[in-house]
């Protein structure tokens, strides 16, 4: 009975004070939206870097001087590029410190070029199956070899539901896909390097001879070799050299700094929001202070009073918090893509679980926000005796 009547009171007061409710809702929607968006993006970036640190098989990446991308762009961005260096570079970088080297050859399909059965712009990554140690750990299915015409899709490549497709006029079959890597592989389609070179020769005759060029070389060092020694030993080669570990540490520091700044910013937003919402709630309580006094006079305890108001404010809070979280969720995807391509950070993939966790997080934060914003004005109000409440409300 109690709760049903509380519910009636809550609903009736919400519908009677639409303007105030609207202001509070907008406050909550904006702050929760910001919270979910920023938090989600940070999480995705952190997870991406962690993933990358755990399983990035290469110690050193060598890529052409002409590449317009910087180091982290090469590793993480997935931005299309078709620059090459001569395979002879391999002789320069192979020495006693090296455990193994594998090469990759990239090719870009033309969007809407009529060459492919998908309109998507795909980055094709040709790998040398025999020497590869970079892609293999990420493949979902157990595969013994990668034949001509077989492709493996990166986790972000939107060719779901397709089994076979035509790329550069060549029929391809998707035989497996990659787990999220937090790197350019997420946006790539992997195939056999030999086939890709053939396709390059046919479709892009203006490119340098594909059979004597590579896009990048991944170097794995001997267990006992130090990266610095190796880097010293190949100084002066005509290619860019990235130390993956150094880059990861640099990024980790950057992300750490970002995350501190953003967390502080979020904290400030949350505090402002608590102040704004609790003063709105304070107003909503004080418009009814006479009624509160009456309810106290017939025996309502402070905790019952709290229950009554939390029902009302929780209803407002939850619905707007849910809405704010949803908007935040909807924008995390684009935000992450922006981070990946403009800030060139590794970013993990946003899946249903990630979405749900952050939706839930948004709702939990909303609940806390509402709880604090209800408790503060009620503590102030409860200092008055029932009679003081009534006289205050009458004058």
């Amino acid at each position: 009975m109690f709760n049903k009547l509380f519910g009636t009171i809550a609903l009736s007061n919400i519908s009677r004070r639409k303007q105030l409710v609207a202001i509070v809702s907008i406050c909550i929607i904006i702050s929760i939206f910001l919270f979910v968006l920023v938090w989600g993006t940070l999480d995705a970036t952190k997870a991406g870097l962690k993933l990358n640190q755990e399983r990035h098989g290469a110690d050193v990446v060598v890529y052409p001087l002409e590449s317009k991308l910087d180091d982290s762009g090469i590793l993480y961005s997935g931005v299309a590029q078709s620059v090459y260096m001569p395979s002879s570079i391999l002789d320069e970088i192979d020495n006693e410190y090296v455990d193994s080297i594998t090469t990759q050859y990239f090719l870009q399909t033309l969007p809407g070029g009529g060459c492919c059965s998908t309109e998507l712009e795909l980055r094709l990554v040709g790998i040398d199956w025999d020497t590869d140690f970079l892609v293999k750990p990420w493949i979902k299915d157990k595969i013994d070899t990668l034949k001509d015409g077989e492709i493996i899709a990166g986790c972000n490549v939107d060719i779901e539901g397709l089994v076979s497709l035509t790329i550069l006029n060549y029929p391809m079959t998707i035989i497996s896909s990659l787990e999220p890597t937090g790197s350019f592989l997420d946006d790539s389609v992997v195939c056999n390097i030999g086939l890709l070179r053939n396709l390059a020769k046919i479709n892009f005759p203006e490119n340098p001879d594909p059979f004597s060029s590579i896009t990048c070389a991944m170097v794995r060092l001997d267990k006992n070799a130090s990266i610095d020694t190796y880097l010293d030993s190949i100084i002066g080669i005509s290619a860019n050299v990235i130390s993956v570990t150094d880059l990861q540490i640099k990024l980790q520091n950057e992300i750490g700094m970002f995350s501190t700044i953003l967390t502080l910013l979020l904290a400030v937003i949350m505090i402002l929001c608590v102040i704004a919402i609790s003063s709105q709630f304070y107003m909503m309580i004080h418009m009814r202070i006479k009624e509160v006094g009456y309810l106290r006079s017939i025996g309502m305890t402070r905790s019952q009073l709290f229950r009554m108001f939390i029902m009302e404010f929780g209803l407002i809070g939850l619905s707007s918090g849910f809405f704010g979280s949803l908007i935040g969720m909807a924008l995390i995807g684009p935000m992450i893509n922006w981070v990946r391509s403009n800030l060139t950070m590794p970013v993990s993939v946003v899946d249903i679980k990630f979405m749900l966790i952050h939706l839930l997080l948004g709702i939990v934060i909303t609940l806390m926000l509402c709880l604090i914003s209800t408790i503060i004005p009620l503590i102030i109000t409860n200092r008055l005796s029932p009679h003081e409440m009534i006289t205050k409300g009458e004058l």
Partner: protein
């Protein structure tokens, strides 16, 4: 059986340089009908509020069967109010968001008897047509009757009535006084504050208030 004792109760509102209630003593037992008369501003409402647990006195004690109510925890005092005191405010108080019937149901849920017959009370107070209306749609007299019905829905041991006949026509005023009088038979106590001598009868314990001082008539 119960006993409410008011012991040297004084009230000085903050900001005032005078005492609204000056060291008053009174005893209320089950079956009592007490009336307090006095001019406007003499402190009748203030005294009534203090004995009902709604306004802490500046000094003095209010004892319920020997226990000081203002020394109870806020929770205990709330529950004490809900079970023992029905306060009829000088100005009508109701929950605006609830209909008359819902107001009565809410009130009953705080009271002594969860099975009390609400419909009988609605009939008793002539509110059949108003029971499903919000208080804002009622006339002044109907609102006052609704408030009294709400208080009786809790079946309290003491009814503190501050000018209960305000807003009412003489027919309803007499009816309400008769209803209050009947409570005596159920071993309840009634404290009536009024400036209308029509409602003062010889079987009442009569008090007069003057400039904050309480004297038995």
């Amino acid at each position: 059986m119960f006993e409410l004792t008011i012991e040297k109760v004084t009230k000085q509102y903050s900001g005032n340089d005078y005492q609204a209630v000056k060291s008053c003593d009174m005893k209320i037992k089950s079956g009592d009908f007490i009336s307090i008369q006095g001019e406007s501003g003499s402190g009748k409402s203030s005294l009534l509020l203090m004995m009902s647990g709604l306004l802490p006195p500046t000094s003095g004690r209010v004892l319920w069967n020997g226990e000081s109510i203002y020394d109870m925890s806020d929770n205990a005092l709330s529950i004490w109010r809900s079970k023992n005191v029905g306060y009829l405010f000088q100005n009508v108080q109701l929950v605006q968001a609830l209909t008359v019937r819902e107001n009565m149901l809410l009130s009953r849920s705080f009271g002594n008897d969860p099975t009390l017959d609400i419909e009988a009370l609605i009939t008793l107070f002539g509110l059949e047509d108003e029971a499903n209306k919000l208080p804002s749609l009622l006339s002044g007299g109907q609102r006052r009757r609704a408030m009294i019905a709400c208080v009786l829905s809790r079946d309290p041991l003491i009814v503190c009535a501050d000018e209960p006949t305000n807003d009412l026509d003489s027919v309803w005023a007499s009816k309400i006084m008769a209803i209050l009088n009947d409570l005596k038979k159920k071993d309840k106590a009634i404290v009536l504050v009024t400036h209308d001598s029509r409602w003062i009868t010889d079987d009442q314990i009569q008090y007069v208030m003057e400039n904050g001082e309480l004297n038995q008539a």
